[in-house]
Symmetry: C2
Subunit: 270 residues, 2 copies
């Protein structure tokens, strides 16, 4: 016997599928089959989901017409949620026990905490949504969860640049770059087959100081005939005045260590 679902039940199922597939076009046939309902019925359900999420500033649902058309969910974060999250994160990171010898802040726990990364990723993704990038790119290791989350929300693949070529990756392209923080010459490398020519890429990382790494990423992408079209980081070092890049987005600014030995952090101008 075929299952029937009432409107309330269909709305729960449709919302789940859309929210779990951000920026992916879902053909209405997927819903008509899953829920054993007519296309017109599903369309009405989607109007209700759209209205509810929109009134609560929880995201948009766009309709794409044509044969490959359907609907897609676009994640949104309201200005209030953004401020609340960024302020909260500043407070957490200003704890004195976070300053480690060498005047670094310990942020490793934050960078792999799904609670933090999901929200930070949603905010960054919403800022870059209109660029319509083909890939999100990051460099190992600490920024990987954030970059993964941004890629997932933008509905694109993630490319992880390595510090050394690996035997399991086949032919690789390597470049040298000068890291802004250590002034040392470093290497970054990427497998030949990892990225399609002519792609638009967004670089996501945990921390930006002089911008040397971002500059290296741009050069590496040029080797693949790809373009770096945006840069987003969680924290940006405001004490390093001249960044190699003027155009980038950060959620927080690090303003050094105060006289009591605590880190000074402030929300970026979002």
């Amino acid at each position: 016997m075929e299952q029937k679902f009432n409107r309330n039940q269909r709305i729960a199922a449709i919302t789940k599928v859309l929210v779990e597939n951000p920026n992916k076009i879902i053909n209405l046939n997927r819903f008509t089959e899953l829920l054993n309902a007519a296309k017109s019925t599903i369309s009405e359900d989607i109007v209700i989901v759209r209205e509810s999420l929109s009134r609560l500033s929880m995201g948009k649902i766009e309709t794409i017409s044509g044969a490959a058309g359907g609907v897609k969910f676009i994640s949104e974060v309201s200005k209030e949620q953004t401020s609340e999250f960024v302020d909260g994160l500043c407070n957490v990171l200003m704890g004195k026990d976070r300053v480690v010898p060498g005047d670094f802040i310990y942020i490793t726990d934050i960078l792999s905490d799904p609670n933090v990364i999901t929200q930070a990723g949603s905010i960054l993704a919403s800022k870059f949504n209109s660029l319509e990038v083909d890939y999100v790119v990051t460099i190992e290791t600490k920024g990987i969860p954030l970059a993964y989350e941004v890629a997932k929300i933008l509905g694109v693949k993630l490319i992880i640049v390595r510090r050394d070529p690996k035997v399991t990756e086949g032919p690789t392209v390597s470049i040298n770059y000068v890291s802004g923080s250590s002034k040392k010459i470093q290497t970054m490398s990427l497998a030949r087959k990892s990225i399609n020519k002519g792609s638009k890429c967004l670089f996501i990382d945990d921390f930006m100081k002089g911008g040397g790494t971002a500059s290296g990423i741009r050069n590496l992408l040029h080797e693949f005939e790809c373009e770096l079209v945006g840069i987003g980081v969680l924290i940006d070092d405001a004490d390093t005045p001249r960044k190699l890049f003027n155009e980038y987005m950060s959620l927080l600014q690090f303003n050094g260590i105060d006289e009591n030995g605590g880190a000074i952090l402030s929300p970026s101008n979002l």
Copy 2:
């Protein structure tokens, strides 16, 4: 003026919040405030969401009573979805162009593709949900997106073990271990403050050969008075007969390279 939402609209909003916060207890007050509705109304809404998701094998909603109580969403993947996903992934990985010199399979793209990792993570998380772990642990680099996804679905933090101690992490603990595949002595290290004593941990990685890395993780966790209670990997090398661990879970088995130069892969017994 206070906003009112009808049942359909409330169900869309409740589903979104629950699905985006797997394994997290959401207090009903959050919904009563967000949706300006009585607790009894929200409870009825939740019953409808629960029934719909359950009928479609899309997950469970559990009620937790008491002062710190509420409801939580537990992700589930049906047997059919699991088989379909694992069979599909086998087919993708058996492509001849994936074998790189040294008889390795190129899986880097798969390991950071949100489409693949979301599904693989959901399947692994659903297998380990009953262990009630405190952390998911992985070692840099390739398994990080998968481990992050599993941690997120289980509602716990992710710990990333490093190959070298980093200056930004404060005091670290390092151990040596023998990697099963290369037989070389390697180092793994973890910041002192990264993990609470007495925690139960789940190790997630991309590939398992002899189990040397998992064994190293177990020893490292012992240094923190923590216990390794489960191991999950995407691919398990069936050609390495005696694993250092009998108890682990994989999604696929790698059975070497066939005479035509293609990789042989099969679904694990899930």
